[in-house]
Symmetry: C2
DNA sequence: TAAAGATAAGAAACCGGTTACTCAGATCAT
DNA sequence: ATGATCTGAGTAACCGGTTTCTTATCTTTA
């Protein structure tokens, strides 16, 4: 029917009114347009398939109606729920979401952040960021509302944030295993450099301190957050003849890799080696045996930070801007059953 | 340090040059700026932390550097790889990706499409779209480059597209099961209304025709693409006393739900019932038993359509704009081992 | 040394919107 | 009937960029 996109000026001309009037109709401003004029303009808009250019509007109003979401790796099964939480909320509020991967790489993360600044997003949600304090501090100079999820930092670095207490998570995991009598508890982490990874380590150390046990260097492994790395970690330990009784991990994916490789190499889980995952993604109950893990409500956390971020953007007060959620230990089939299990709920 | 975002005019004023000159520096246009001026401007930009407003540039150039990606449900484990494929490619070309969910809902899909039009994305990738022909035809009036992935349609509806041959996929799956001697092959689909779902059904029917068997209404089930629905489907069949020998599905998630529920209800897989998934997501080899499934290279397909879409956007020729990839049957542990298995590679 | 050509940089129009300000005509109270 | 108030609608400036056109200055060449 028509051949290109119309502009507000053309629509105005077609119905013989001014741009201002068309603009008023589009934004249905309460005043300023008579009933018949409004009707006429609406009809023209309809007939011409006119769609106002949101970009132009953005530069005029300096609000883009877009937010950025940066996460390490979309295809890691942990993140889709986060995306969903954010997009679901943003959708209800009419915001679009630009998604980008950082690949656990500070330079990449920085690049994506800048890119979003350039696109003038109204705010950014950064998930398990790997940037260091200095960079984030400097980044604040751009004055873009920033929400952090999964990484807890002192409040000056972001406007709002929610994260699990990773220290506690690591502590619960390690101390449960130690209390069960395991003396050689391995800690298999994902990508190094994330704050979550360091914090879990802290909890792991704390537990060992309480049990009066030393933290042995060779029982701490770092790789990435994949099933594949879980498998490799097992091979690494076994092939080097490093003895161990239990494994605590930085993610469920790693744990799944570990369990499946232990089984493949003839080691019984949990009888010979107990394993605890981290995150409680949906997979944990699909995989056999069901994974014991440390749980946080990701979807809800994502929605929460989305909501908070919009409050920041809209200049509303943001109660409890920085929140830490207590992770729960979920004991299923990769740990032994014990009478005190219910204490850990 | 500074208090707000600078505009090109302010930068120009600060170094005592015109907007035009600053603009030339920013876009490092080959001509028109002397060495010392360029240097001075660059320093000011650096010092002021100036970042050009991509939105304003977009309205001036009418190219936004953004593309839209619409998929049914980000949190379905099938889609993250698709997102990754698209974002990875777009990243290398400097495009941002706006992601939105359609929830298998035509209205929602239409809403997201329009939203992206408003945001003036340079192109849209629509994944397993549920819109009907009429809507898509009408949509073409907006003249936004459109790439389809996972849905094959006649070429007038999109500029480029890639999809698995779902008819063939359904056919391979069903005929393998029938050839193995199974007479009551159930077909458990995900959300109805998707083209993929209809096409697999077509393949399923074709196989039955070839084997001279009737397609029985009660052996076709529809729900959604979740593990949970797989479980429900098994309960449904068992509780109604509907006998069956094998199950072909619309997704691996469904298949996983089916297998795990069959086992839970004491039915051996594959000895008593064989199951074939669809898609070959990573999970298939993490889950025990490893899932037999129909495989397509999702990540590559996503990258491919991203590449093609950019060619359309940039006005370059697009060879093989519409591609159909042949799915492979991957036989693992939820089907019985047979001597002719290798024929199906 | 003067004419021709190249180059650096500015002025101004433009992209597609929003919005403060203005004003003519209608409505109202007196 | 008259002045005050309201209201519909237009004008023009603005948002932050790009780009065409023009001009002043500097080289080059004859």
């Amino acid at each position: 029917m028509e051949k290109r996109k119309y502009s507000i000026a053309e629509i105005a001309q077609i119905c013989g009114v001014s741009k201002a009037t068309v603009s008023r109709v589009i934004n249905n401003s309460p005043s300023g347009v008579g009933e018949k004029t409004r009707e006429r303009v609406l009809q023209t808009i309809e007939k011409m398939n006119y769609r106002p250019n949101a970009l132009a509007r953005s530069v005029a109003t300096s609000r883009s109606g877009m937010v950025g979401l940066i996460l390490p790796d979309v295809s890691n099964f942990f993140y889709p729920k986060i995306i969903r939480g954010v997009t679901d909320y943003m959708d209800t509020k009419g915001y679009s979401v630009i998604v980008a991967n950082s690949d656990y790489n500070p330079e990449q993360e920085a690049k994506q952040l800048l890119n979003m600044i350039d696109k003038r997003v109204d705010g950014i949600i950064l998930c398990s960021g790997v940037s260091n304090r200095e960079f984030l501090t400097q980044f604040r100079n751009y004055h873009v509302p920033l929400g952090l999820v999964g990484r807890t930092f002192d409040s000056s670095l972001s406007d709002t944030g929610i994260g699990g207490d990773n220290v506690l998570g690591g502590y619960k995991s390690a101390s449960y295993l130690l209390r069960g009598g395991n003396r050689r508890v391995v800690y298999v982490e994902g990508n190094p450099g994330t704050s979550g990874s360091r914090q879990r380590m802290e909890g792991y150390c704390k537990a060992h301190r309480e049990f009066g046990l030393p933290v042995r260097e060779e029982l701490t492994l770092h790789g990435d957050y994949s099933v594949e790395y879980g498998r490799e970690a097992v091979d690494f330990l076994l092939d080097r003849g490093i003895a161990f009784d239990a494994i605590m991990t930085g993610s469920d994916l790693i744990a799944i890799g570990i369990v499946s490789q232990l089984q493949a190499r003839g080691i019984q889980v949990p009888e010979e080696v107990e394993v605890i995952g981290f995150d409680n993604i949906e997979l944990t109950t699909v995989f056999n045996p069901h994974l014991s893990t440390v749980s946080k409500p990701h979807y809800d956390m994502a929605q929460h930070v989305a909501r908070q971020l919009l409050r920041v953007i809209e200049g509303k007060p943001v109660p409890l801007a920085h929140t830490v959620v207590q992770p729960r230990l979920v004991l299923r089939e990769t740990t032994k059953k014990r009478d005190y299990d219910r204490e850990y709920l």
